[in-house]
């Protein structure tokens, strides 16, 4: 009997082995970054997966002194929050009106906006527009660029959600004499909270991870976000000597840590947002 049970158990065991293998492959690079961020420069050559003999916490202050980690971290934080606030608020207002009024004109605006999900940015001419608008090399400039790039997907997500909010609610507010803005802020905005939070989390992650926009639009290193800062620090380190890998790992860890923390806190929002965004119309 027990032999039969053991044979039956084999496929399940193999399934768990495959799933665990996939999990290990997914986590291995993160593990390697974590252990090497705590090693001495000498021990981190080649990024071996061995544990550090003594955790070397000084790497983080060293990378702050050499690569301006705190400054870049703060910049990323400001860009992510600023662009997200603008994108979510403007997209919420737009999606609400466009979903409530289905005239031909409003549908055209809606499709024009969500076309932006697929059309690529022309960075050559965007650079020129940014120069002419005096937005290049400025922090407000990069925030507005991020917001403009996220508006299409946010409008798309919120638009579908507005449909699920009964019209009677806003009409009741109007009958009570509320202005459109008050009705939106007091009645609709609280009801849209789930989708607005989903958008906000996805937007923050998006801006935090972005690399190409600062590469084109921020030449001043004091304005660099984490991604560009870590790339440049790694670039200088790799060309001069390979012994900087402990510091590079510490810098990379500080780039991915906020993402992992947000993922652990907001996992449900992220997954549901991405699935709804892709599967729901």
């Amino acid at each position: 009997m027990s032999a039969v049970r053991a044979i039956r158990a084999i496929p399940t065991t193999i399934n768990y082995l495959i799933a665990s293998g996939a999990g290990i492959i997914a986590l291995a690079p993160i593990y390697i970054v974590v252990v090497n961020s705590l090693k001495t420069a000498h021990a981190a050559v080649g990024l071996s997966p061995s544990l550090p003999l003594h955790p070397h916490w000084g790497n983080f202050s060293a990378v702050n002194a050499q690569a301006g980690l705190a400054r870049a971290f703060f910049n990323s934080f400001v860009y992510a929050l600023g662009a997200t606030a603008i994108a979510v608020l403007l997209s919420g207002l737009a999606a609400y009106v466009l979903a409530r009024r289905r005239t031909r004109r409003h549908l055209v605006i809606y499709f024009l906006l969500i076309m932006g999900i697929a059309i690529p940015t022309n960075y050559v001419t965007l650079t020129k527009v940014m120069q002419d608008a005096h937005l290049i090399d400025t922090q407000i400039g990069i925030i507005l660029v991020y917001a403009s790039q996220m508006i299409p997907f946010n409008v798309f997500l919120i638009y579908a959600f507005v449909d699920s909010v009964p019209r009677d609610l806003d009409e009741a507010a109007f009958i009570d004499g509320a202005s459109p803005l008050v009705a939106f802020g007091k009645v609709i905005l609280p009801l849209l909270r789930p989708v607005l939070l989903t958008c906000a989390v996805l937007d923050v992650l998006n801006v935090w991870s972005d690399f190409i926009n600062p590469l084109y639009f921020l030449s001043n290193s004091s304005e660099w976000p984490m991604t560009l800062s870590v790339f440049n620090f790694y670039g200088t380190g790799a060309s001069e000597e390979i012994s900087n890998w402990a510091l590079v790992s510490a810098d990379v860890l500080m780039t991915i840590l906020p993402v992992i923390v947000i993922y652990i806190i907001a996992q449900r929002w992220i997954l549901s947002g991405l699935i709804t965004g892709s599967v729901k119309g």
């Binding site: 495959i18 996939a22 080649g46 022309n122 527009v129 991915i256």
Partner: protein, 323 residues
């Protein structure tokens, strides 16, 4: 835009009639024009940013693609299709970049779809416990910044000190050690591998949602009729997932055609032009001050993506996917 079913449209009509009667009865709501309730200017902020920073550069780019615009031009003049001629000149690296982008796109779409489907089936029907933990872990790389991923893999794939080759040597498989990112024939495939590692979890998550949406009864009645596991996969799972495949393919396409970060960090488009893509080529042309050619390339790309975006809107608005 989705044709409603007979029963829902009947309900909608009934509700509308009731609403109209209500309005006529009390005569309050209908009087105010819609615009004072839902003013169009609410969409103004989003539209203004979008027009200025997304659409205007796109249109401007199409116009400037027909000029002699460079970093050194003092006076712009029309040059007709000269820039487009340059794009398609014999042995043009723009053509190489397009070919690389196409190969990258096809390879990542196929790899991510096949691996994600396998993992999704495994996690939905092969495991009893921990499925959501595995799902969460396998999805995680998708959120990591490409720059961070690129730097780590560039070290892991280093031909002399990298962990991949040193592990192969330790396992006495030193013959398999390669110059992963420096070999002209291998570099693009290494980039494809890293990108698949990072992106497969996202596709898997969507496929899991799709698999969970297939009614259980279909499988039950199939197994009553004596269908094997493979037969129910082939004749139930795959057909039922068709709309999900459409969605994941679109997501993969839209990403892969404009790939930049991972390529730029891993290889900067090299060695030579072995891994140059559309976006890395535009970036290097801008660096050289060749704005006219760069914007011609960008505009050509925009037209292709615009055509594709109509397909995207079609696919994302499929009624059968609404849950």
């Amino acid at each position: 835009m989705n044709p409603p079913t007979a029963s829902t449209s009947a309900t909608v009509r009934a509700v509308r009639r009731a609403g109209a009667r209500g309005r006529l009865g009390w005569g309050r709501r209908a009087r105010k024009p819609q615009d004072s309730y839902y003013p169009t200017w609410f969409a103004g902020g989003a539209l203004a940013l979008y027009l200025l920073l997304v659409l205007l550069p796109g249109l401007l780019g199409i116009g400037l693609a027909f000029t002699n615009w460079t970093a050194y031009t003092t006076k712009l003049h029309w040059t007709g299709v000269a820039n487009f001629h340059a794009l398609f000149a014999p042995h043009s690296f723009f053509v190489i970049a397009m070919e690389n982008t196409l190969l990258f796109t096809v390879a990542t779409v196929v790899l991510k779809t096949v691996i994600a489907l396998g993992l999704a089936v495994l996690l939905t029907s092969g495991l009893k416990r921990l499925a959501s933990l595995y799902r969460a872990i396998i999805f995680l790389p998708n959120l990591l910044p490409y720059v961070a991923v690129g730097i780590v893999f560039k070290s892991l794939l280093d031909p002399t000190t990298g962990l991949v080759n040193s592990t192969l040597r330790t396992l006495a498989l030193g013959g398999l050690a390669r110059n992963w990112l420096g070999d002209i024939h291998l570099a693009l495939w290494s980039v494809i591998g890293v990108d698949t590692w990072k992106g497969v979890g996202y596709i898997m998550v969507i496929m899991i949602a799709g698999l969970l949406g297939i009614p259980r009864e279909l499988y039950e009645s199939a197994s009553c009729d004596g269908a094997s596991g493979w037969q129910s996969f082939r004749y139930i799972t795959l057909p039922m997932l068709k709309p999900v495949f459409a969605v994941t393919t679109v997501i993969n396409l839209v990403y892969a055609l404009r790939v930049f970060d991972i390529v730029y960090v891993l290889t900067s488009g090299g060695p030579g032009y072995a891994t140059a893509t559309v976006y890395t080529t535009i970036f290097s042309q801008v660096g050289l001050g060749q704005y006219g050619v760069a914007t011609a390339f960008s505009s050509l790309f925009l037209i292709v993506m615009l055509a594709l975006s109509f397909v995207v809107i079609r696919v994302l608005h499929r009624p059968e996917l609404q849950s």
